[in-house]
């Protein structure tokens, strides 16, 4: 540095950083952090998800200050939040719709990873941590849905916990254990509340690990090739901070639209009826973000097998890095997978549609075909296409592809090795 004297602030920062290398870490990981220059807007969804987690924790903590976790009082306490607490309606709608937004962001993030092969070597653990986050999110969302203690809360809790009754021999004992009673009741509500408050912080910890794993090799990119030098990257700040901020503003517009103009669009009207253990609502449907799993569960005519496949559809994600045998990451250079990927998207949407409808006639057939395809996609098409497909030539470098605007300077060898081990 040319300056002979450091300012007072810099000296304080230096003093701290010498003892707690925290400032330096931020500098390295959030400021200089070399990021592939060709990231598209699909790479915004990771940071958006992280911000959404914070939004959920903040709104949740403030709601918890007003909520009463007791079967006799929970419903009324939520209505008190909606009616009497200053801005309570806004915090509650933000939290309620926030769950949907969080899942939407994470699902887009996940499908982006599937399209561009972000789970492939050396990012397998990064991917696995992401799947763990998804599972924790599903658990948290489910328990949160129970807290307002409306009809859907009560019956969702009953149905989901009863999934464990499919386990042979000890199933019913496990369910009774989960309930802390002979039906879903106040003990269930209390423990769900405690866990619903705890799990987001577990998620936060796993997100931290997810980021550590990410920063080990840096972001994947739309070309799926490794960065080879400084010409391929840009510092995270200001290039990607501003890009993420712009994405955040656009996302907040959509989110706000739901909070302020369609707050109950994604919810079920039955959940505004207080829980009644003596009567199940006419149509039990999960929240939209769980519909595909719900569809798989219902498509299998055997209780135990249905439960196994519904859980399996998520746990399958853990082995995706090893199911994919393709030597290249990005679907851009995979002429067959590029199309097959969209079959999966359609398949999952079809499962969602099946889950939203009563299991009759066509819905059942579509559900069974879509369930079958889901597993075929990952267990058969993934390894087979990877082996048979002939990838298109990869560009020599990110910089070459971006700055010279083409794939003309091809590396040549199809199926060039992914990375130096």
């Amino acid at each position: 540095m040319a300056q002979t004297r450091l300012s007072a602030t810099s000296r304080v920062i230096r003093w701290i950083d010498f003892r707690l290398p925290f400032v330096g870490m931020l500098q390295r990981e959030l400021y200089d952090y070399p990021t592939p220059r060709n990231l598209s807007y699909w790479w915004n969804f990771g940071s958006l998800s992280g911000i959404m987690l914070v939004v959920m924790i903040v709104t949740g903590v403030f709601l918890a200050m007003q909520y009463t976790p007791h079967a006799d009082l929970a419903f009324d306490s939520v209505e008190r939040i909606m009616r009497d607490v200053n801005w309570g309606w806004m915090m509650r709608y933000a939290h309620m719709n926030g769950a949907s937004m969080f899942f939407a962001l994470v699902y887009i993030h996940l499908f982006r990873g599937l399209y561009y092969g972000s789970y492939k070597q050396p990012r397998e653990l990064l991917w696995i941590l992401g799947v763990i986050i998804l599972i924790l999110m599903i658990m948290t969302a489910f328990m949160g849905y129970v807290l307002p203690w409306g009809q859907m809360s009560y019956w969702a809790a009953t149905v989901i916990t009863n999934l464990f009754s499919a386990i042979p021999l000890i199933g019913q004992n496990i369910v009774t254990f989960l309930w802390g009673g002979f039906t879903v009741g106040n003990p269930t509500l209390n423990r769900f509340y405690a866990l619903h408050y705890l799990l987001p912080f577990v998620i936060l910890a796993v997100v931290f690990l997810h980021l550590v794993a990410l920063h080990r090799f840096g972001s994947n990119n739309p070309l799926g090739i490794d960065k080879r030098g400084p010409q391929d990257t840009l510092p995270f700040h200001p290039y990607f901070t501003i890009k993420d901020l712009f994405g955040l503003a656009v996302f907040l517009l959509i989110y706000s639209f739901f909070i302020f103009y369609a707050p109950n669009f994604l919810g079920s009207s039955d959940n505004y009826i207080p829980a009644n253990p003596m009567r199940t609502p006419n149509h039990i449907v999960t929240e939209w973000y769980l519909l595909p799993y719900y569809a798989i569960l219902r498509s299998v005519p055997n209780k135990l097998l249905g439960v196994i496949l519904a859980f399996g559809s998520i746990f399958l994600m853990f082995i995706v890095p090893w199911l994919d045998t393709s030597p290249v990451r990005s679907a851009r250079f995979r002429p067959v997978y590029k199309w097959v990927f969209w079959l999966l998207v359609i398949d999952v949407i079809a499962l969602g549609w099946v889950g939203a409808n009563p299991p009759e006639g066509l819905v059942v057939t579509v559900g069974q075909i879509a369930t079958l395809y889901y597993f075929v996609h990952f267990l058969i098409l993934f390894p087979v296409i990877g082996k048979l497909e002939r990838p298109r030539p990869l560009p020599a470098s990110i910089a070459a592809a971006v700055l010279q605007g083409g794939r003309a300077t091809a590396l040549g060898a199809a199926g060039a090795p992914l990375a130096e081990p």
Binding site: Q27, Y31, D32, F62, D84, G88, P235
Partner: protein, 184 residues
């Protein structure tokens, strides 16, 4: 290192102020947005509408005998009602006001001299002073004595000794009939 990154970006546009202005605007609007978002969360911790609505309590004073003290709840706090004897009234009125820590005439603290209505919360750190029950320590001035840190109040609820800075608060109240008051 930060300076390097900064130079890398701004160096290409030396002398150009529009970018700086734009970045400044973006930073400002972001800060405004964050501040505006924080506000509802802070506001939510203020008393809610239902809490604010429960603000009046009616008390029938007829059963309270001369010299008796009654405690009623108002906004969840105890309100002391003292049916004062002529001696107590005299003791309260005879005090030289300029000697008091929180100078206030007894007449300014009552609507009818025989009825003293005060919030029974010590102005030091919020304990409830003794003196409502017969047999309680009322302190040397015959008023109230706070067991937490030894504040002593007289028969008008004024602070006479101890750490409390101010007199016991007189709540807003009115006589709706001869022996009925409405607090709040």
């Amino acid at each position: 290192m930060a300076d390097l990154a900064q130079q890398d970006v701004s160096g290409a546009h030396t002398g150009e102020t529009r970018r700086d202005f734009l970045i400044l605007t973006a930073t400002a609007i972001g800060a405004v947005g964050v501040a505006a978002t924080i506000w509802p969360f802070i506001a939510s911790l203020n008393p809610a509408r239902d809490t604010l609505a429960l603000a009046t309590t009616e008390v029938d004073l007829a059963p309270v005998q001369l010299g008796q003290r009654l405690t009623v709840a108002w906004r969840g706090k105890p309100v002391f009602i003292d049916h004062r004897t002529p001696q107590e009234i005299k003791a309260a009125e005879d005090v030289n006001i300029s000697d008091l820590r929180d100078p206030q005439a007894d007449s300014a603290r009552v609507k009818k001299p025989e009825w003293l209505v005060i919030v029974g919360v010590c102005t030091h750190l919020g304990c409830i002073p003794l003196g409502q029950k017969t047999g309680d320590d009322r302190g040397p001035y015959g008023g109230w004595f706070c067991p937490c840190h030894g504040s002593i109040y007289d028969t008008s609820g004024r602070i006479r000794q101890g750490p409390a800075p101010a007199n016991l608060v007189v709540p807003p109240y009115e006589f709706t009939a001869d022996t009925t008051i409405k607090i709040g």
